[in-house]
Symmetry: C2
Subunit: 401 residues, 2 copies
C-alpha cells in the first residue's frame, strides 16, 4: 500500500431542491461579483440559467456571463474569460454545465491569479500559487470535475491544418477544487442517450484508471472502487431504457463525483494510460471523450494484461460478474475484457476507432497521435506498464483492427 | 433517496511518512501558536510527542501542551484548555491521539470562539458561529472524529453520586471538521487487542447507523457502505491475530475515517439509536464506547427488525455472507443478527450488559439510563423506529438477559 493524500473539500448539495442554495453558497465562499460560465443554448432553454440568475438577483449578487464552452474546451475562450473577469472585477466563478464548462472555468481561475500566460501551466512552464474560488451547478455526470483537481484544456492550432497541431493538456493540482457543487439529478433527466453513455463510460474509467495498478494490498480502496463500478455497471443500461427515472439518474450522478474525487485511488499508484491515449483521439477527431475511452480501453487492457493478470481477473469477477476460472487468472481476465466490450456495446459505445469515427485511422494519423502522446517520443504514459511511443502506436493499431 | 449534503474537507496525509508533514500542515492552515492536546503517557512513551515537538520546533512554531484527556472526555478539561489557550494566545489546535482527544480539542475550539459557556452548545442553549482551526495526529482508528463533524463531551456530576448525573452529549456541526489529519498506521501497531476490537466495532457501527433506514433506494451509498463493512469484518479478526501487520492496520485506519466522514450516509436518513442508547451506558459505567455498542446493537436490531426486515436481510447477505433464505427475509435477517453476535465474540467484544460490566444492570440503573436517553421521557432516539422511554428501557432489558 502506497502512502497517499486525500483531499476533497468540495461542499456538495445534492438533490431536488439543491438549486435553492446557489446564492447562499456563493455568499458563504465570499462571492460578490460572479462570472456565470456555461456552454451552449441548452442551459438557457432548460431554464437553468434563469434559475441561477434569479438566485443571484434575489441575493443582490452582481454577475456577468460568458457562454460558448464546447466539448474539449478551448484555450481561446479561457483567455476571453480571463479578460472579461479582469475588466469586470469578478471575484467568484460559477460553472453551469458539465466537465467542459468546469474545466474551462478552472483555467480561467488559474489565469486570473497567474502572472504569466495561463497555457504555461498546462505545458509545465509554470506553477500556480492560487486559483480564484469557484463553484459548480452540475448538469452532466461524467467528468467528475465538480470535486476533482483535474483540468483539461485544448489549445487550438494557430495555423491550418487544425487537426495536426491541436493540443489537449491537463493541469491537475488541488487549488482548483470547487468550493461547492450543486447537483440536482432532475437536470440530467433529459440528457441524450449518447451523452449519458459517454458519462457512464467516463465515470467508470476514472475508477478503473486508479484500480489497475501493481498495488494489490489496498483492500478497502479496492472494495469501494468495485462497489462504485458495479453499481454504475448495473444502473447504466437501466437508465438508458428509463431516462426519466430520478432514482437511477441520482446513482449515476453521485457515482460520477466519488469516482473521481480521489477516494478510489487512496493507496494506489494509478495508471491513466487510457486517458492519455484517448486525449489524442479527441484532440485529433474532436470526438466525445467517453466514447474515445471505450474505443481504447479494451485494447489497452489486452496489451498490458500480462503485467498483472490477477488484477484483471479480480475486476472481471467482482465488477462484471464473470465466473471465476480458478485454474487460470488470465483466462478469467480475458473473459472480463470481453465482458467489458459487451457492456460498452450494450450502452451504445464504440470499442474500436472505426466505430468511433466512422472509418479506420490512417497509419500517419496513428503515428501523429502516438508521437504527441509520447511528447515527441520523449515520454511514457501509464504505470501498470509504462508505455513508450511504440507501445502507444501498437494500442492505436489494436483499436484500429 | 433523500436530498443530502456531503462535506468532508479534511486534508488527509496517510502513510508511513505522514508525520514529516506536521509543521507544514500547521503552517498551511495558518497556525503560529499551537496547543498540543493529548491523553495519557502513551503519547510520550511512544515517542510521538517528541516527533510532534521536533516538527514544530524545526519550523519555529511556538506551542503549549495539555495532556490528560480520558476516554469519554470531560468538560472540566475542556474548560481548562479554553483558559490555557486564551492565556497563551493559541491560534491553532493540534490533537495527538484518538477520538477522545479530538473531541476534547473540538470543544476547546468552540469554546474559544463562543461568547457563552461552551456546554450551552451541547444542551441546545446556543449555536457556534465559528470554531478555532484544528488538526489531528491520529493514533487510534475508531471514532472517525478526524474527518467528522462529531464532538461528544461528558459533563461530570457536580455532586455525588457521580454516576447518577454524568451527562454525555454531542454537538455535531461542520465548523469543527479538522483542517488536516496525519494518519500513520505504524502508530496503531501497538494498540492492545481490546482497544483494537473496540475501534473495529465503532468503525462498523458508524456505517451501520447510517445503513439501517427506510431509504432503500440509495444503491451507490449502500454498495460503498457494504464494501467498507465487509472489508473491516474480514480484516478485523485477522489484525487481532497479526497486530504488527501494517497492511491490515492500514485498512482499518482508513476505514475508520471514511466510515464516519459522511460518505456512508449520502441519501439516507440514518438511525443513531444504538449510539444514543450506548452513550448512557458509558456515562454510567465508564465503559469503552465500542464495547458498549456491541453490547447494545444485537438487542436493538432484534427489537426494530420488523420495521424493515429486507434491510437486515441485505446486511446479513452482503456484509456477513449469510446464505440468503429467499423464502423469508426475516429469517435471513435473524441469522444475520446471530452472525453479528458471533463476529463480536470473535473479536472479544461483549454482546450483553453482563459481559460488558461484569454483572447485570439493576432495574433502577436501566430506568435511569432510559430516562436520561429520552431526556426525561420527552424525546425519542432513532429513525428506523422512533424509540421512546419504554422502547429504550426494553432494549436495555433485552441486553440484560
Amino acid at each position: 500500500m502506497q502512502d497517499f493524500k486525500y483531499y476533497a473539500p468540495t461542499e456538495v448539495i445534492f438533490g431536488r431542491n439543491s438549486e435553492t442554495q446557489i446564492a447562499a453558497m456563493v455568499q458563504k465562499y465570499g462571492g460578490k461579483k460572479v462570472l456565470i460560465h456555461y456552454g451552449g443554448q441548452s442551459a438557457e432553454r432548460s431554464g437553468l440559467l434563469a434559475v441561477v440568475r434569479k438566485s443571484l438577483d434575489s441575493a443582490g449578487i452582481a454577475y456577468v456571463e460568458l457562454g460558448g464552452v464546447v466539448p474539449n474546451p478551448r484555450l481561446s475562450l479561457v483567455r476571453k474569460g480571463i479578460e472579461l473577469c479582469k475588466a469586470e472585477n469578478v471575484d467568484f466563478l460559477l460553472a453551469v454545465g458539465g466537465g467542459s464548462v468546469i474545466d474551462s472555468i478552472k483555467a480561467i481561475g488559474y489565469g486570473l491569479d497567474y502572472k504569466g500566460d495561463v497555457w504555461d501551466l498546462f505545458i509545465g512552464k509554470g506553477e500556480a500559487d492560487t486559483c480564484r474560488p469557484l463553484g459548480v451547478v452540475l448538469t452532466i455526470p461524467a467528468a467528475g470535475s465538480e470535486m476533482s483537481e483535474g483540468c483539461v484544456i485544448t489549445k487550438e492550432a494557430e495555423q491550418e491544418p487544425v487537426t495536426s497541431t491541436d493540443m489537449k493538456r491537463s493541469y491537475d493540482v488541488d487549488l482548483c477544487r470547487p468550493r461547492f457543487a450543486i447537483m440536482n439529478p432532475e437536470r440530467t433527466l433529459t440528457l441524450p442517450p449518447f451523452q449519458t453513455a459517454c458519462g457512464i463510460t467516463d465515470i467508470m474509467m476514472h475508477t478503473m484508471e486508479r484500480y489497475f495498478s501493481h498495488d494489490d494490498d489496498m483492500l478497502i480502496t479496492d472494495a469501494v472502487a468495485e462497489s462504485i463500478l458495479k453499481t454504475v455497471r448495473q444502473c447504466g443500461p437501466k437508465v438508458l431504457t428509463a431516462p426519466l427515472n430520478y432514482h437511477l439518474r441520482a446513482q449515476i450522478m453521485w457515482a460520477g463525483s466519488i469516482a473521481h474525487n480521489g477516494l478510489t485511488g487512496c493507496g494506489t499508484t494509478g495508471d491513466w494510460a487510457t486517458h492519455n491515449i484517448e486525449h489524442e483521439l479527441s484532440a485529433l477527431y474532436n470526438v466525445a471523450h467517453g466514447a474515445g475511452l471505450a474505443a481504447i480501453w479494451p485494447h489497452w487492457a489486452e496489451y498490458v494484461l500480462d503485467e498483472n493478470p490477477t488484477r484483471f481477473a479480480q475486476f472481471a469477477v467482482n465488477v462484471l460478474d464473470v465466473p471465476n476460472n480458478f485454474r487460470s487468472a488470465k483466462e478469467t481476465a480475458i473473459e472480463g475484457i470481453a465482458a467489458m466490450k459487451q457492456f460498452y456495446h450494450s450502452i451504445g459505445m464504440p470499442t474500436s476507432i472505426q466505430e468511433l469515427i466512422g472509418r479506420k485511422a490512417t497509419e500517419e494519423e496513428m503515428q501523429l497521435m502516438a508521437n504527441k502522446c509520447s511528447i515527441g517520443k520523449t515520454s511514457t504514459v501509464g504505470n501498470l506498464k509504462k508505455l513508450a511511443y511504440n507501445d502507444i502506436l501498437k494500442i492505436y493499431q489494436l483499436a484500429n483492427r
